[in-house]
């Protein structure tokens, strides 16, 4: 089978026979959700919202698929590509490796991968400037803190999460150079993403050391952090999606990643979605702090002004927030 396939591919490349893959004029886009599931109140749900917005505005239809296991990824992508879905949007860094295998086989199909970079001519990689959003969260935390001590809880100790931490610390120190930032990581294995009990215990330990604002970038562990913060009378900062509604009045803000916008854009542009790396930063509103009725009482005019000033400065390049992943080091502690 594979010999036949590679023979066919070779023939196709030589241009001896026309490529058989049909390219329908009106291809429907497709959206593939990662293991977390469509309604995870976070990352995947944001992608779903983007797709639904596109559907409501254009009246178009799209295919969707929820991954149930690791092994399905490649098969699902091939199936969608073969049935003519275009573009195919995948959420989550776990699709990176699979796309490197699948994308070259379907050169006429556009793929979009969110949260990781894949170097293929027909793949758009959407990556976020988490350090910029976290910087703003740091400013807000430093201004809202009464004790002068704030804290950060990361999930698994990996460079991506260090990027959140580093941006946050920079924001705090830029606002209040005397402020102390306590940093904890839940663990060094994937289990660290799903340990709300340890997240809650770390939060209490940080409270014991004087912290009154905690920023969680820890997946499912974050649920425990937000809960413990609410129980202990601290303020928490959520991540990825707008989590302000989870404990109204006790979540200062959430560092949102505009996953919905990137799905919406890809669907809107369809097959014309440009390949290459698309950086979603403050300038393109790819990262932002959630402001809604749930946290409005916590945000003063002073804070709003400071955030606006910092946003303008970052966008203009006046403030350069260091990205931990460029050199695996953070300039401030």
């Amino acid at each position: 089978m594979s010999i036949v396939k590679s023979l066919l591919a070779g023939v196709a490349v030589l241009g001896l026979v026309p490529v058989l893959a049909p390219t329908p004029a009106h291809a429907d886009p497709a959206l593939v959700f990662d293991l977390g599931g469509k309604f995870d109140k976070s990352f995947n749900e944001a992608a779903y919202r983007g797709a639904e917005r596109w559907k409501a505005e254009t009246g178009g239809t799209y295919k969707e698929l929820e991954m149930q296991s690791e092994a399905q990824r490649e098969q699902a992508l091939r199936m969608l590509a073969q049935t003519g879905s275009n573009p195919i949007v995948t959420t989550g860094f776990a699709f990176g490796e699979v796309l490197n295998k699948v994308a070259p086989d379907y050169p006429d199909t556009r793929f979009v991968v969110i949260d990781t970079a894949v170097d293929q001519p027909n793949v758009q990689s959407v990556v976020f400037a988490e350090e910029q959003g976290s910087y703003l969260a740091g400013i807000l935390a430093a201004m809202a803190s009464e004790s002068g001590t704030v804290s950060f809880i990361g999930g698994m100790d990996i460079p991506l999460i260090r990027k959140f931490e580093c941006g946050f610390v920079q924001g705090v120190k830029a606002t209040d150079a005397e402020a102390r930032v306590i940093v904890n990581y839940t663990g060094t294995t994937p289990a660290a993403w799903n340990d709300p009990v340890k997240g809650a215990e770390l939060t209490r330990a940080q409270k014991g050391q004087g912290s009154d604002i905690v920023y969680a970038a820890a997946g499912g562990t974050g649920i425990g952090v937000l809960q413990a913060a609410a129980d202990e009378g601290m303020l928490a900062i959520g991540v990825d999606s707008n989590q302000n509604h989870m404990h109204p009045g006790q979540i200062l803000t959430s560092m949102e990643k505009a996953v919905d916008n990137s799905v919406y854009e890809a669907f809107r542009l369809g097959v014309d979605t440009p390949p290459g790396v698309k950086l979603m930063d403050l300038a393109s509103e790819g990262v932002r702090l959630s402001m809604d009725e749930h946290n409005a009482p916590l945000i003063t005019d002073e804070m709003t002004a400071a955030l606006e000033a910092a946003t303008a400065a970052i966008v203009s390049g006046e403030i350069a927030v260091h990205d931990y992943m460029t050199d695996n080091a953070c300039p401030v502690r």
């Binding site: 293991l35 799903n194 215990e201 014991g208």
Partner: protein
């Protein structure tokens, strides 16, 4: 390090100890009767899920507790049928339970709540809240004893007190009652119990069910007291740590309390001091996190002497013909 910090760490250790202690006692009951149980993790996970689901739907933590125990008992029945009635391999049955719970909780959770395997967050009466013991506030002013009573003894959820009370209860039943004597005998020499005309199977089932109830308490504590809801794989290996503590405690209740408290304390210290600085040396957080396991190996190898498991452990009992 001042007195307040020490108290906070001890307080945290007590909370972290509770699920370990309950699971450790659960394992103790089962293994004392000669049924190895490495499915503690799966039972806790199942209990956490059923407890959080029922508490979320009904808004009542006590119904959640009942459901948690029921969920864990269902897993115990599977273990019992496989390893007692059908004389299957107890280790394999335990592993199967761990896998089953890991998959089933996410599958059911997704089917029922569509939150990616999570349950909705529990609020108000759906959770167990801290109990403030009488006079905690009044005694706070008394030096040493006051803060210890107010911070350490008071202010835990009811399940913490239940877990601690389970220790003397387990000791008393196992060492001071006829049922306990027979149960221990079944784990050492089932043939002699059988000769005395007592059913080995029934005793082993009883032990496995008690194990299920205790794991149910542990899982419920994780999902409805320590946190507010179920998250997939939320037991995060605590069932295995409880097994290590059980060996460490040489299958004895009071030692189980000490062993699990030590593990809780280690974790609390690691949470509080991610990296410890000793002069110019900085001990990295990975090392501090690994300390409980390193300590287990050292203590088992050198200090507690031989840890001898119940002699008939792991062997299905076959009546002689």
């Amino acid at each position: 390090m001042d007195f307040g910090t020490v108290l906070q760490i001890m307080d945290s250790a007590l909370r972290l100890m509770t699920p370990l202690l309950l699971a450790c006692l659960a394992g103790l009951w089962s293994e004392r009767a000669g049924v190895f149980d490495i499915g503690l993790e799966g039972k806790m996970l199942m209990a956490a899920f059923t407890a959080a689901s029922v508490a979320a739907v009904t808004g009542n933590a006590w119904l959640g507790l009942a459901a948690g125990i029921a969920g864990s008992l269902a897993m115990s029945v599977v273990h019992g049928v496989a390893s007692i009635t059908f004389r299957g391999n107890q280790l394999i049955s335990g592993v199967a339970i761990n896998f089953l719970a890991s998959g089933l909780t996410v599958l059911l959770g997704q089917r029922i709540f569509q939150l990616g395997g999570r349950t909705p967050s529990l609020t108000g009466e759906a959770r167990f809240h801290a109990i403030h013991l009488p006079f905690a506030q009044e005694l706070r002013g008394v030096p040493v004893v006051g803060p210890v009573y107010a911070e350490l003894v008071s202010g835990h959820t009811i399940l913490v007190y239940v877990a601690v009370l389970c220790v003397p209860l387990t000791w008393w039943v196992l060492y001071r009652t006829r049922f306990g004597l027979r149960l221990r005998a079944v784990g050492e020499n089932p043939a002699s119990v059988d000769t005395a005309g007592v059913s080995v199977q029934r005793l082993r089932y009883a032990a496995v069910m008690i194990c299920g109830v205790l794991c149910g308490l542990a899982g419920t504590y994780l999902a409805t007291a320590l946190s507010a809801g179920f998250v997939r794989e939320m037991t995060a290996g605590r069932g295995y740590i409880a097994l290590a503590a059980l060996i460490f405690a040489k299958w004895r209740p009071w030692h189980a309390l000490l062993a699990t408290f030590l593990f809780g304390l280690m974790e609390a210290v690691a949470n509080r001091f991610p990296s410890i600085e000793i002069g110019p040396l900085t001990v990295p957080s990975m090392f501090v996190n690994a300390l409980p396991y390193i300590l287990t190996v050292i203590i088992l190898a050198g200090f507690v002497g031989r840890a001898t498991p119940p002699r008939a452990g792991g062997e299905p009992y076959v009546k002689e013909r």
